[in-house]
Amino acid sequence: MPEDIIVAQKVQKEYRRGREIIHALRDISLTIRSGEFLVIEGKSGCGKTTLLNVLSGLDRPTDGRIIFDQMDLTVIDERILPKIRQEKIGFIFQLFNLISTMTVYENVAAPLWPTDLSRQDIEDKAMDVIRAVDMVERKDHIPRQLSGGEQQRTAIARALVNKPKVVFADEPTGDLDTKTGATIMQLLRKLNQQEKITFVVVTHDQELIKYADRHFTMSDGRLSGGRR
C-alpha cells in the first residue's frame, strides 16, 4: 500500500483585495499517495495555482494543515523550505521558466549547484535526466534556440534532476500545441511509472484527465471528485 505523501486538511486560503476578501481555497481536504499521477482540472481563476502553491509549501494557507512527507508545512521554519524544495520537490511551469542565459545542461544542473555534490556527480545526474528526456543533442543550446516542446522537456529534466518525491506541474501543456502537449504528457506519465515519482498536475485542459490515476475538479476554490 503506497504511503500518503501529501495530506491537506481543511485548507483555506484568503486574500484581501482592498476591502474585499477573496476565498481562493475553501475547506480543501486531499490525500495524495506516493507514486500517484493526479490531475486537478478547473477553469482559469478557480484557485488551481493557489492550491499548487500551498501544497508545495511556496505559500502558507490561512487555515488548515498541509502534511508533506510527514512534515507539517504550515508550521515549518521558512529557512528549511528551500532545502525541502531542493531535495523532495520538482516544478514544471506553463511558460517553461528556463533561465535564458543558461544552456540546457546548466538549466538542468542548476538545482544541484548549491548542494555538496561533486562536479562529476552533478554532471552524471544532469546527463541522466537529459538523456531520459531525449535532449542530449541539444544540451549546449540556450532556450531561445529550442522549440516549445524542447524547452518543456528541459524543464521536466530540471524538475527531475534532484530525484524528487513529488513533481508539481502547472499547466504543463498550456503553451504547447496539441501534438507536442500529448507527447509531453506521455513523457510525464512514463517518468511517473518508471521512477515512481508522484505527479500533481493542475490544468484547465480536460484532455489531460485521461493521463491521471485520479482526477479532481476545482471550482470557485472548492475541490470535488477524486475519481480514478
Binding site: 511556496l58 505559500d59 533561465i99 549547484w113 548549491p114 562536479r119
Partner: protein, 204 residues
C-alpha cells in the same frame, strides 16, 4: 560548493553581453575618472599635502569637492545598476528559489556578478593603461635627442605621464568598492524579497 555559484555567476554574466558591456564600460569610466582625480591631487600636492597658504587651501578644497561629487555620482550609479540587475533577474531568481536555492545562494549569484563586472572594469582599464604608457614610452624614446636614451631618466619620465598608474587605480578601486556598498545592500534586499511564487504566477 561555496564558490561554485560564485563562479557560475561570472560565466552567466558574460552571456548577458549588452548589460555586461554597459556595466563594465560605466565602471571603467568611473574608475578612470577617480584615478585621474587622485593623480592630479598627488601631482599638485603629494600624499601628505597640508595647505600653507589660502590659495593652496582653496585649490585643495576644489579637488575634494570634485572627488566628493564623483563618489556621490558613483554611489547613485551603483544603486541604479544594482536595481536594474535585481529587476532584470527577478524571474530567474524566483525560478531558482523554486528549485531549492536559498537566499544565501541567490546572494552569491548576484554578488558574483557585481564582483566580476568590477574586476572586468579594472582589467580593461589596466590594459588601456598599459597601452597608453607603452605609447608614451615609445614616443619619448623616439623624440629623445639621444635615440637610445637613458632608461634611468626615460622610464620615470614616461611613468610620470601614465594616466592610470597601479597605485591610483588601487585607490580608485577601493573608492568604487566603497560606493558600491549601498547598491549591493539594496540588491540583496530586493532579491531576498522576491517570492518563488512569482515563477508560477508571473504574467506572460
Amino acid at each position: 560548493m561555496v564558490l561554485r555559484i560564485f563562479f557560475k555567476a561570472w560565466r552567466i554574466s558574460l552571456r548577458t553581453t549588452r548589460r555586461f558591456i554597459v556595466f563594465t564600460v560605466a565602471y571603467a569610466i568611473l574608475l578612470t575618472w577617480i584615478a585621474f582625480i587622485v593623480r592630479q591631487y598627488f601631482i599638485e600636492f603629494g600624499p601628505l599635502f597640508l595647505p600653507t597658504n589660502p590659495g593652496e587651501a582653496v585649490l585643495m578644497q576644489s579637488y575634494l569637492v570634485i572627488m566628493g561629487w564623483t563618489l556621490v555620482a558613483g554611489t547613485i550609479m551603483g544603486i541604479v545598476f544594482s536595481w536594474l540587475l535585481a529587476h532584470g533577474r527577478r524571474d530567474d531568481i524566483a525560478v531558482l528559489k523554486c528549485v531549492g536555492w536559498s537566499n544565501h545562494d541567490i546572494r552569491q549569484l548576484v554578488l558574483g556578478e557585481i564582483i566580476f563586472i568590477t574586476i572586468s572594469a579594472v582589467l580593461s582599464i589596466a590594459i588601456l593603461g598599459i597601452l597608453i604608457s607603452g605609447f608614451y614610452f615609445a614616443t619619448m624614446v623616439v623624440l629623445s635627442p639621444n635615440p637610445l636614451g637613458n632608461p634611468t631618466v626615460i622610464v620615470p619620465a614616461a611613468l610620470n605621464y601614465i594616466l592610470i598608474r597601479p597605485d591610483f587605480i588601487t585607490i580608485a578601486l577601493l573608492a568604487v568598492m566603497l560606493v558600491q556598498v549601498p547598491g549591493i545592500l539594496i540588491l540583496i534586499w530586493r532579491t531576498l524579497r522576491i517570492s518563488p511564487m512569482r515563477a508560477l504566477t508571473r504574467p506572460e
